[in-house]
């Protein structure tokens, strides 16, 4: 499987049907998830702001998951020196930045009515902000270095340094006393929320995951084409 996905020709053949398939799956999951979202009753504590949770929590999951993908692709790029791994890392960064921005913004829109503040410098919020800055830093570094090989290597090292932040984000609510509540889905003793809220949350989480998968594959395809266009331009020039 990995060998098939490190070969650009095989990857293009695989992604040609996988990307639209994941897009269709995302659309179906999104439609059902939103239906269950607006069919759910208001929470006894949060009231109607519980609807924000159904889009905030999946965006937060994706902010971590996409960075893990970025760091994994960067590690593969550093070890195996495959152009496809570099392309995968480069393609993941803008998507991760988008999801992390959504996590921060929707969290802020939930926090204002529930906590009485748009922002607080607690461990979870601050570590997610640092994650967002790592995404921006990755993209800025990529754009700042003209030599693609050097840029990929420098960005891969930056991505791996930033990966240290992932467990900090995840465990921040248990390591420190934070205003942000702890995990209520992925717990050893099972989720603490009723099925009426858990179902739309998980469906929208899977929707975001499928949407990312689809967009990531398309962006990697675009990267492969961009490099191919560059190679053709070089051949035509020389």
């Amino acid at each position: 499987m990995i060998a098939a996905l490190t070969n650009p020709a095989r990857f293009m053949a695989f992604s040609r049907w996988a990307a639209p398939s994941l897009g269709v799956i995302a659309a179906i999951l999104g439609a059902v998830g939103l239906w269950l979202d607006f069919a759910a009753p208001p929470d006894y504590q949060q009231g109607y702001t519980v609807h924000i949770m159904f889009i905030h929590v999946p965006a937060s999951w994706m902010s971590l998951f996409v960075y893990a993908c970025l760091a994994g692709a960067s590690l593969m790029g550093l070890i195996f020196r495959t152009a496809l791994a570099d392309a995968a890392a480069r393609a993941a960064a803008p998507l991760g930045a988008g999801f992390t921005f959504l996590a921060l913004a929707t969290g802020s829109l939930w926090g204002r009515p529930m906590w009485g503040t748009w922002w607080v410098w607690d461990a979870r919020l601050t570590s997610v902000l640092v994650l967002f800055l790592f995404y921006l830093g990755y993209m800025a570094l990529q754009a700042a270095i003209d030599d693609e090989t050097r840029a990929a290597r420098a960005c891969a090292i930056l991505a791996l340094v930033g990966a240290i932040n992932l467990p900090i984000v995840h465990f921040s609510v248990t390591w420190w006393n934070t205003l942000h509540q702890g995990s209520s889905v992925f717990r050893r003793d099972g989720p603490t929320m009723p099925a009426t809220y858990l179902a739309p949350l998980l469906l929208l989480g899977l929707c975001y995951m499928a949407a990312f998968g689809s967009l990531w594959l398309v962006r990697i395809r675009a990267e492969v084409w961009r490099r191919r266009a560059g190679a053709l331009a070089m051949r035509a020039a020389g």
Partner: protein, 72 residues
């Protein structure tokens, strides 16, 4: 039954959804535009290099230089 009432929190709920739609929509649009642009670029360049290769193949062979006439 669907309930689109957000009560007194509407000013926070709907901007959160609007922002999500805008950001995810922008990610989709940018991704598709990027893919379309580079695929067309490759197609154009491949067509150009194909044309150039065809021109090289079809180019008439140059006439061998005629040997200078020797005055007797």
């Amino acid at each position: 039954m669907l309930d689109f009432n957000a009560g007194k929190y509407a000013a926070f709920v709907w901007p959160a959804y609007a922002l999500s739609i805008v950001v995810i929509g922008a990610m989709v649009a940018d991704t598709l535009a990027r893919a379309r642009r580079w695929r067309r670029e490759v197609e154009t360049r491949e067509a150009e290099s194909g044309d150039a290769a065809r021109l090289l193949i079809q180019a008439p062979k140059a006439e061998p230089p005629s040997s200078p006439k020797v005055e007797s």
